[in-house]
Amino acid sequence: MSPGTGIRARFKLDYSGFSLDVDLDLPGRGVTALFGHSGSGKTTLLRAIAGLEHAPGGTLSVNGDVWQDAAVFRPTHRRPLGYVFQEASLFPHLTVQANLEYGQKRVPQAQRRVSLEQAVDLLNIGHLRARKPARLSGGERQRVGIARALATSPRLLLMDEPLAALDHALKQEILPYLERLHDELDIPVLYVSHAPDEVARLADHIVVMEAGRAVAAGPLTDTLARLDLPIKLGEDAGVVLDAVVAARDEEWHLAHMEFAGGRLWVRDHGLPVGHHARVRILARDVSLARAPMSGTSILNTLPAVVVDSVDDAHPALTLVKLRVGESPLLARLTRRSAHALEITPGQLLYAQIKAVALIG
């Protein structure tokens, strides 16, 4: 718990019927997802970090800056943070431009690191400046909300399910902007979400919340591949791997993605060779075989070593954790198949991967 870097958060809150009890050491850079079902306490934790929820006795420091401890409670307006609400919560009496300036002009000149222009360009909202919030679409409103938070040059950006109120198409409209934010600004982000696809796409780290407690925390790839968690993720159990475009097959419109452990064919989305991207492989899309199969429609078959296996939520199913080179992989099988394969740790098998999703 070095006080210098990272986000150190310890909160205990008791409401009737709900308690929050967390002790977290989060990285001071990149996107950390607070992931969990509704009612798991992730939004309460975010609000406590923002100071919107008064949590006496809590401690919080952000990259060495103490925001709250036994002696100090900095009210929200004295915490250098940005907050994006689920509904953009723009001020209806102000134009987009005035909304953007609202936070920025309250930040001393010397502390401004993100210019208004930069925030406007990043979210591509230059053409909306003169409008009132009532005349924006849901997606535009949320983009303005994000830009407004960025324009205060926050040391920590808190996002509370910023996409949850939007339909699928609008989500797809905003996600690329969130990725740009990640790539172009060096601001640590805490991102509350209950959507595994958003987490897989955006997060570097993940904290899994359940009943007011953090049940797991760590780098995204390692944490998603833990065998004790996927059960809770159900159908969304799977791994996310960092990969790079190694080659493109023009004839079949496929891209060859290289990751630490092998190569995967995915549909070509036009990414250039050398581009970094994430791929997501769900456990239910992986089947196992003793020998590589021929005469199959499956494009991706990789040699894998069994690490461990556990019973899944349904008694018919089992989850197998494998290692492909240096990368983890999860496979969901019936227990009967696992028995037939005589799955044991250290065993070499062939993982047949039916679907690979290229994300981001």
């Binding site: 919107l52 929200t76 307006h77 907050y83 609400f85 001020f91 609202y102 309250r106």
Partner: protein, 224 residues
């Protein structure tokens, strides 16, 4: 048509209503804010006290204010010890009484406006570095503007229309406490119906115009 004493009554009425409304906006704002935001057990009691003038006969309010502000009353003793004399039968006394009498008509619209704003804009402002006071002036007041317009109009109009309280506290002193409603009463007592008509019709026209302005300037359901 209108005599000098009529004009004097009109001038006095407008003066009283203006001063009262301004005072009420200043006094009513913190009360409305507290009522809109508090979770205190006292909320119900305070709200009821503020609303009392709506249901009480004006003579009851006037009677108690007269007793309280009189030479033997607690307020009277205070004003005397401050060298201000006693308030009944003065313009200042009328202002104090009108503030009490019109309080709910100003507090309630403002309170409703504050409640309609909700928690979220205040939280958003706090995350954008605005202190609570800053938030009040930059977010709450602009968003509550329709409530303030309603409160001003109702407070003003209600003060213009008061009669019982004025009679109890102010009596009927020309140029000092004789407002339009009392002047009309005097005309009727003296069987000067023509004079009474001019003032009474004037009041009807005034009230109509005020309410018309309120409803056209402040249509409901236009909030973003």
């Amino acid at each position: 048509m209108l005599s000098d004493t009529d004009w004097s009554a009109i001038r006095l009425t407008l003066e009283l209503a203006s001063v009262t409304t301004l005072l009420l906006l200043v006094i009513g704002t913190p009360i409305a804010w507290w009522l809109a935001r508090t979770r205190s057990a006292w909320k119900g009691a305070v709200g009821a006290v503020v609303a009392l003038p709506i249901v009480l006969p004006p003579t009851v309010i006037g009677f108690y204010l007269l007793v309280a502000m009189g030479p033997e009353g607690p307020v009277g003793r205070l004003t005397q010890s401050l060298g201000l004399g006693v308030l009944p039968f003065t313009f200042a006394g009328l202002v104090v009484a009108s503030v009490f009498y019109s309080l709910p008509f100003v507090v309630q619209p403002i309170q409703n406006a504050f409640e309609a704003i909700g928690e979220r804009p205040l939280e958003a402002a706090a995350t954008l570095r605005a202190s609570p006071l800053d938030t009040f002036f930059s977010v709450v007041l602009p968003l509550a503007r329709p409530g303030y317009l309603t409160a001003s109009v109702l407070g003003f109009a209600h003060t213009v229309g008061e009669f019982g309280v004025v009679l109890m506290i102010g009596g009927n002193i020309p140029d000092k406490t004789r407002v339009v409603s009392v002047q009309i009463y005097d005309h009727v007592e003296a069987l000067e119906y023509a004079q009474a008509h001019w003032l009474a019709a004037g009041m009807v026209a005034f009230s109509f115009v005020v309410l018309l302005l309120l409803y056209t300037l402040n249509p409901t359901g236009r909030r973003a």
